[in-house]
Point group: C2
Chain length 430, copies 2
Amino acid sequence: QGTRDHTPAQAALRDRLLSAVVSCFKRHGGAAIDTPVMELRETLVGKYGEGAKLIYELQDQGGELLALRYDLTVPFARYLAMNKITNMKRYHVAKVYRRDNPATTRGRYREFYQCDFDIAGQFDPMIPDAECLKIVHEILSDLQLGDFVIKVNDRRILNGVFAVCGVPDSKFIPACSTVDKLDKVPWEEVRSEMVGEKGLSPEAADRIGDYVQLHGGLELIERLLQDAQLSQNKLAKEGLGDMKLLFEYLTLFGITGKISFDLSLARGLDYYTGVIFEAVLLQQESERLEEPVSVGSVAGGGRYDGLVGMFDPKGRKVPCVGVSIGIERIFSILEQRLEASGEKLRTTETQVLVATPQKHLLAARLKLISELWDAGIKAEMLYKKDPKLLKQLHYCEDTGIPLAAIVGEQELADGVVKLRDVATREEVRM
Amino acid sequence: QGTRDHTPAQAALRDRLLSAVVSCFKRHGGAAIDTPVMELRETLVGKYGEGAKLIYELQDQGGELLALRYDLTVPFARYLAMNKITNMKRYHVAKVYRRDNPATTRGRYREFYQCDFDIAGQFDPMIPDAECLKIVHEILSDLQLGDFVIKVNDRRILNGVFAVCGVPDSKFIPACSTVDKLDKVPWEEVRSEMVGEKGLSPEAADRIGDYVQLHGGLELIERLLQDAQLSQNKLAKEGLGDMKLLFEYLTLFGITGKISFDLSLARGLDYYTGVIFEAVLLQQESERLEEPVSVGSVAGGGRYDGLVGMFDPKGRKVPCVGVSIGIERIFSILEQRLEASGEKLRTTETQVLVATPQKHLLAARLKLISELWDAGIKAEMLYKKDPKLLKQLHYCEDTGIPLAAIVGEQELADGVVKLRDVATREEVRM
């Protein structure tokens, strides 16, 4: 349940998609690492907030207690701490596992790929953070998924908002995960969850509402830097200062057109400590009613300066910022688009079919195909002793093989091969 | 335990290795599929003989009972049956899981890659089987692993041998798994296991010994076809006839020099029904004493005509033959060789570092690197506002970046960039 096989056509499409993502990661100097699909259970404990109940555990068959990885970020942090690495730019493309309610039509599975790029190290503020946003911008542009917006916020700003609105420290994380729902449900519902389930005062909730419904650009940052309350809060001031710097860098990258500073963005995971962001696709012009409506998140990430320290015996911190591309949703979109276009993706790369037009020529086929393989040419033949020529040519048409190398009695006698262009039917002897 | 992280250098080496294997699979017209890392437990039951106890099971957290895949062959057979596919040439490169005693120095892990190529369908005898052997030959030759031999046998011949030696049907599979140990322990030990643990008569064991210690080529096949007992056994006769045909095809492929018909080859898995084979590396000339000694299996496979039928509700069979490349052992060898050579593998593909020689030029760096990224050029910069030029050039040397694009005050004023070849220190303004 919630998993799927990939047919050759799906595997080919996925390969194309992952190649585009990986080539962007390489363009930014990322090095690949790999980690096991299973981690010690204790490694995953206390990192995912409400997600923890979705972790797949392995049966205790003696030995270590294991679980399947839930994301690629925690294994990365564990890897850095274990190897005492303080400085690294890495990417990792692999499957992760969540016992979630699958919604396969929207690309939500229990086994799914993540494509992560992270920058670890003590650097000058906002330079790696800006690069992560540039990466998201490049990938979504390259893939031509239509219009998108990248929402940006900062956990410090959110915490500052909660503080100045009178929320006690202990309720920051629950308040955060409630605010995070604002992209799916209206403010009224979020407000009533805050007051009901999370036990905030109605006054605090209303004050929060005034802030978290704001979104904009540099002018909003400037305005909040002047805000009578927020400007008095140390965390919020830091976050806003960095947000301003981030926008400066994004201006130099020429991508602020797709960036929205959005105070409702909270992100569900516990480990974020600074900048957070999320990219959403907007509905196409044709389907648009009044305002652009988001059709779902396709990338997200943020800064997590405390996570590596949780795995270091001495608690030594390694600041990190990273991005995860939501490849499954993108895959669903591309799959639907491919289906709509009627285009048929080739599932093999075979260049030539070795064929014979008469009987008793299997030996000739085997000798020729062997020569082709040894020369690095992608070649196939039918696994029949005496296949009909028509059947062999149909196979080419069905699978998109462009050439047939035909060797018959005459060709054998003349020491040549007849090369046929399957589409045009042109033939040359060589 | 028994798993490992891959560092960037290891990930780069593995990527190189897997690319070589996959390009061979594509050369032979393989299409990729992918299946989930977990299967229903019931799918894996009864397929692996003594290996069954090594299956990793997931905890029962409600819902289906799951286990991690043990190989890629059973998931492939399940895929074919589920989708009613009767004809397919597919490859699959993915990790599999076995709760084995790890021997990591010899490349035996609990999580490891398999690279499988399989041909499913009703075809003329031995044509796909011969191609599988050709694939093993190509891959081992391409990777330049030194001398190797591919042992070939047939389950039907082995069963015929057991039958004519007086072993009851019910003991074929245990006898088979005992014979399989002949590559690691001498005949005397295998004999005593047969008589002791497996309960064969000493006479039967001795007669088996006369057969399973034979190995050779076409002449041995011919001799056994004339063997007074074996030639009377239907299964053995079929197997020997097919073996002869196989050698004919392998002669046309020009690879019989590396093929040995070896009656001791049995292979541990239950599901084989016909041809079986295993490639072993031989010790290098330099280390060789008298006879070539095998240093371990690096590929194996065979025909399994009954497996797909086990997953079909009506038991419809799809004949299959396939090969699995033992990538971990090959990886260990390449890793040791790389270490010995002192060669340093680059872990990134960055072409140019964007650098500045004076302070207050971060904006210039960000603008230039953004242009390079947008033009598809792999570029990096240091994440510092004002890094020293020397530090930037050292970074190039450390990570193998060949070029530095330097933009200083003069270059900015002149509207140019200074491109420096890191190795030769040559510079051009452009």
